[in-house]
């Protein structure tokens, strides 16, 4: 099986502009940043959450707390994946009780990662509200989960994959659509 690049969905500038817009939207819909905290889902949700927090500082002058969540232990397919997924640490340096949380991830697809992330969050406490922010929503949900803040919605087929590449993780900055070719 080969993987071929079909098209570029976002450039570095577009990613940056989208992150700025998402930050504004979150602040606006939350009526400020007072009780807000961001949780980046590993791996690429983490740099995105940090960037959104940085953008919020420009808007409100406030440092919104950012945590990271590794969802490996909460996955529902552990007995189906062949290899052993490597655990990374979750670091949430603030109590989540009564917080207004925004989960941040790169791509929303089946919804299973977000289901796992919510299970992980609720082991830590009882947030007042949890919303979801994603850079790309590509459809094909298998669970009743929707994002409150979406960078861009993209129509995709099952054989297509969206790759979000971020400087912090991949050393380059763009979003591409690739396809598995048998």
């Amino acid at each position: 099986m080969r993987i071929v690049e079909k098209s570029q969905l976002m450039t570095a500038t577009e990613i940056d502009r989208t992150v700025q817009r998402l930050a504004h939207e979150i602040v606006e819909k939350s009526g400020g940043t007072a009780n807000l905290a961001l949780i980046g889902v590993r791996r690429r949700g983490v740099p995105l959450a940090n960037r959104i927090a940085h953008a919020m500082r420009g808007i409100d002058g406030v440092d919104v707390p950012v945590g990271t969540l590794d969802i490996t232990l909460y996955r529902d397919d552990l007995s189906k994946v062949a290899a052993q997924p490597i655990l990374q640490s979750s670091e949430i340096p603030f109590p989540v009780d009564d917080k207004d949380l925004v989960l941040v991830d790169d791509v929303l697809y089946t919804g299973r990662t977000i289901r796992a992330a919510m299970n992980g969050l609720f082991d830590l406490g009882r947030p007042q509200r949890v919303r979801l922010c994603v850079l790309i929503d590509r459809g094909h949900r298998e669970l009743p989960i929707e994002a409150s803040f979406v960078g861009r919605s993209v129509q995709t087929s099952d054989s297509e994959i969206i790759e979000v590449r971020l400087n912090e993780v991949d050393g380059e900055e763009r979003v591409i659509l690739v396809e598995r070719v048998p």
Binding site: R42, R43, R44, D70, I71, T72, L73, Y74, R75, D77, L78, S79, K80, V81, A82, A83, Q84, P85, I86, L87, Q88, S89, S90, D105, V107, L108, Y109, T110, G111, R112, T113, I114, A116, N119, F122, D123, L124, G125
Partner: protein, 324 residues
């Protein structure tokens, strides 16, 4: 980098990289001990068989708690009340357990090599929870995690081990583990527990010296590992208990010979006033309770690594992403 472990029988065959991987994976499980809700569903539907052919309280409770926190069910075999007493062979007993389809067997046995023997005869993953005087790998891993947490790394430490080293699987597993990181060892205890053979333990070229005077043994130590003294092994005229306390008890005065930030470890159960002075056991250098908490993290990591995932296959490039 990821490694696959079919069994966990001992520290000796592992590489330093594999040990670092296991300690890193254990870190994630340390966090869970601090969660208000400590129970995960990660191993829901899996069964861990705890087969303890030798008495154990803390190790058995630690493994049982680790399995519970991962959501796994348990089968419990305690030799005291089992068919072992009626004369059933080890192989028949574990085959019976295996026929109930556990996903992992955790076993302790008084014979060295018992876990290896079971692993060779069954297809199920086996974790050695102590076999005779051979190895106790999870204890060495939890000790290493404790040392690494306090000091940042394991490299090149001076490690002093006190007590009955001859009969100690904890000492052997610790020497195997720490020698892979270039640690140097001073073994100290009554001469009858310090045979020359101990000098050949550990990675090739490891510095191991045997010392009978405790103040000399503690000089410059970064880590002091105190072993339990089994009173049934102390008998007159070889060594009366009073004499042992006089000569080998770890007291605050003696500990001053070690480096000021030296760590004191004890695998438990700890007999205050015998091998260790209460002031040391409760002092700032003591890691005894951290060891217990870290034991849960290490055992959760091993149970997770050995019972989740399918057959051997190359690891996914980015598994966290593949789920969604």
């Amino acid at each position: 980098m990821s490694y696959r472990f079919n069994h966990m029988l001992g520290i000796e065959p592992l590489t330093a990289e594999e040990i670092v991987f296991l300690l890193d994976q254990s870190k994630s499980f340390q966090e869970i001990q601090r969660h208000p809700l400590k129970k995960l569903a990660t191993l829901r539907g899996k069964t861990v068989a705890l087969a303890f052919f030798e008495n154990s309280t803390r190790t058995r409770i630690s493994f049982a708690t680790a399995a519970s926190r991962l959501g796994a069910d348990q089968m419990n075999l305690q030799a005291e009340s089992s068919s072992v007493k009626k004369g059933e062979s080890l192989l028949d007993t574990v085959r019976t357990l295996d026929a109930m389809k556990p996903d992992c067997i955790v076993m302790r046995h008084s014979s060295s090599g018992a876990a290896d023997f079971v692993a060779r005869n069954l297809d199920v993953p086996v974790i050695n929870a102590g076999d005779g005087t051979h190895e106790h790998p999870t204890q060495a891993l939890l000790d290493a995690l404790t040392i690494r947490d306090r000091r940042g790394n394991l490299d090149g430490l001076n490690v002093t081990i006190l007590g009955d080293i001859l009969h100690s699987r904890v000492a052997r597993s610790n020497i195997h583990l720490l020698s892979k990181f270039g640690c140097r060892f001073t073994l100290c205890g009554p001469p009858m527990w310090l045979p020359k053979e101990l000098e050949s333990l550990g990675a090739a070229g490891t510095s191991i010296r045997r010392v009978t005077r405790i103040v000399e043994a503690l000089e410059g130590a970064d880590v002091v590992l105190t072993l339990r003294v089994q009173q049934e092994r102390l008998h007159e005229p070889a060594l009366p208990i009073g004499e042992y306390i006089l000569q080998y008890q770890l007291t605050p005065e003696r500990l001053r010979q070690a480096r000021p930030d030296a760590l004191v470890l004890h695998p438990g159960p700890m007999i205050r006033g015998l091998e260790i002075d209460p002031a040391v056991a409760d002092g700032p250098q003591s890691c005894v309770l951290e060891q217990v908490t870290n034991g849960l993290a290490v055992r959760m990591a091993l149970l997770y690594l050995m019972t989740s995932g399918g057959a051997d296959a190359p690891s996914e490039k980015d598994s966290s992403h593949a789920a969604d």
